[in-house]
């Protein structure tokens, strides 16, 4: 219904020509739109990326969601509630963007609920105190902003537009996180210790959010070539480190990394080695919260079953009534 129907059975001899035209469009900075011809690999990679991104937004509601009822003030409660709602909305924009490529929502949800789909590893770590709400907002949403600002330039129109919409909202998420951490860091010694403890636990996992190092990132080349990504994992990670280290240090907080040092020549903050074994372990399902997250997601889906059934029954009855009257 986007007009152009894509005939996947096209003569393969046309493909080289079409591919050249497609790549020329991307090089010229044009957006690829749903009805346009695109290589199957481009479609596949986008569906993989966008649906994983959508799942991350949805699962990302869980660690913070449990703190809505534990917020220390009504104002903080309203803020956290609004943030978690935003993440749910982000998931919806993204599922929709993936649908424009031919994926269906039921397939995507099914892959998530059966544990076959991936989502951001970071949400397989537990939130243990109120300070974690601040560190998640600051570091996790801060990392997401860097990634999503890049993706707002992605060559696929619907993904790019979803990102622009999302980025505007993410800035609120990061700021409210900073606000929580600043309040704790200049508060009582106990409050400052809470902030320090949260930083200690979340720092390394957030560095892993940008994905494996470039030497070990199988999909990067094709994603960059087709304008889906414009920066590598390591480039984004370095930008993140350079941004976060001085800001958090200015609060008197310390990083859980004895090797962390400033390299004046490159202007970069250099961290000690990242434990990639841990990253792969968590991705393969052996993180501290993988089972809980999936279980909570499944329970939410199953608990909503009767609502979906009731709505469908009402819609059907209503349709019959209006057909008769």
């Amino acid at each position: 219904m986007y007009g152009a129907t894509i005939d996947l059975m096209d003569d393969p001899r046309d493909d080289a020509e079409k591919l050249a035209a497609f790549e020329a469009r991307i090089a010229a900075g044009e957006k690829i739109e749903p009805g346009d011809w695109m290589p199957e690999e481009y479609r596949k990679q986008l569906i993989r990326m966008i649906s994983q991104h959508a799942h991350s937004e949805v699962v990302g509601m869980l660690p913070e969601g449990t703190y809505i009822t534990k917020a220390p003030s009504l104002r903080r409660k309203l803020i956290l509630l609004a943030k978690v709602q935003d993440e749910g909305g982000h998931g919806q924009y993204l599922y929709h963007a993936a649908e424009t490529l031919g994926a269906t929502r039921e397939e995507m949800l099914d892959l998530l609920l059966t544990g076959k789909a991936k989502y951001s590893n970071i949400f397989n770590y537990p939130a243990l105190s109120w300070a974690d709400m601040g560190i998640i907002g600051w570091l996790v949403d801060g990392a997401a902003i860097l990634n999503q600002t890049m993706l707002a330039k992605a060559s696929y129109g619907p993904y790019s537009r979803a990102m622009i919409r999302i980025c505007a909202e993410e800035n609120f998420h990061m700021r409210q996180g900073q606000d929580i951490i600043i309040t704790l860091a200049i508060g009582t010694p106990e409050q400052k210790a809470m902030a320090q403890d949260a930083l200690n636990r979340w720092w390394w996992p957030t560095l892993m959010m940008f994905g494996p190092p470039d030497t070990d990132s199988p999909n990067s080349t094709v994603l960059i070539r087709w304008g889906i990504k414009t920066k590598t994992n390591d480039e984004l990670r370095q930008t993140f480190i350079n941004q976060m280290v001085p800001e958090l240090q200015s609060l008197g907080l310390e990083f859980p990394d004895p090797d962390l040092l400033y390299d004046a020549e490159s202007g970069n903050w250099i961290t000690g080695p990242i434990d990639w074994d841990e990253f792969w372990r968590v991705i393969r399902g052996d993180g501290p919260m993988n089972k809980e997250r999936l279980g909570a997601r499944r329970a939410a889906h199953e608990d909503g079953q009767w609502v979906r059934e009731a709505l469908a029954a009402y819609a059907e009855k209503h349709e019959m009534t209006s057909a008769v009257l």
Binding site: M1, Y2, G3, A4, E30, K31, E33, G35, R75, L78, I79, A82, Q85, D86, G89, Q92, Y93, H96, E99, T104, R105, E106, E107, L109, D110, G157, R161, A162, E169, N171, F172, M174, R175, Q176, Q178, D179, I182, A185, I186, E247, S250, L251, G252, R308, L311, A312, Y314, A315, E316, H318, E319
Partner: protein, 186 residues
């Protein structure tokens, strides 16, 4: 077992009275009523909307300008059905980067018939994709909905990043700490 997927509704949103409705995205819902509520939750968490329209995706008929221009028979070679004349809403997407915007209405006996009329009435060089849908298929929020659906977002200032002066606070704290440290050093 996956759930059965509900039909998809395309969502159009109007930001200000002087602006036309533009494409916002899609939601799934069992009927138009619920689609409107879902659209509100997904697209209007911030005060930038005064009206929403939802329409079932399968009731939108579309064609790209390229398709139309590549087919010289597009205008002539189809049968106009005998059906009754209906009003259709027309949406145009401009240029390679825009999203669909509401353009106006035409009359037709079928979607294709309506699109043919739209091509004449709303001829415009930079249109890349056309959509038409029967006016009857559009479920619109009403002025009564404004208070319940949209106005409540207006007082949620805490959703605005500008409410958090964190960068300023960080600078101040850093300056204070630097000063403290240098006075300790003396």
């Amino acid at each position: 077992m996956p759930d059965t997927q509900w039909p998809e509704y395309v969502v159009f949103q109007q930001d200000k009275p002087e602006r036309v409705h533009h494409y916002a995205g899609g939601v799934h819902a069992p009927d138009a009523e619920v689609a409107l509520l879902n659209a509100r939750d997904v697209f209007v968490r911030r005060p930038e909307c005064i009206s929403l329209w939802v329409v079932r995706r399968d009731l939108i008929f579309g064609a790209t300008s390229e398709e139309i221009s590549l087919d010289p028979n597009w205008f002539t070679q189809f049968e106009v059905p005998e059906g009754r004349i209906e009003k259709y809403a027309v949406f145009q997407k401009h240029g390679p980067r825009g999203v669909h915007e509401y353009t106006g209405t035409v009359e037709g006996r079928s979607s294709r018939d309506a699109l043919r009329a739209a091509l004449t009435v709303y001829a415009n060089q930079d249109v890349t994709v056309w959509w038409v849908t029967p006016e009857e298929a559009i479920r619109r929020s009403t002025s009564d909905d404004i208070a319940a659906l949209f106005a409540i977002a207006e007082t949620k200032f805490y959703r605005d990043e500008g409410q958090y002066r964190t960068q300023e606070a960080l600078r101040k704290i850093k300056a204070m700490r630097d000063k403290e440290q240098s006075s300790h050093g003396e």
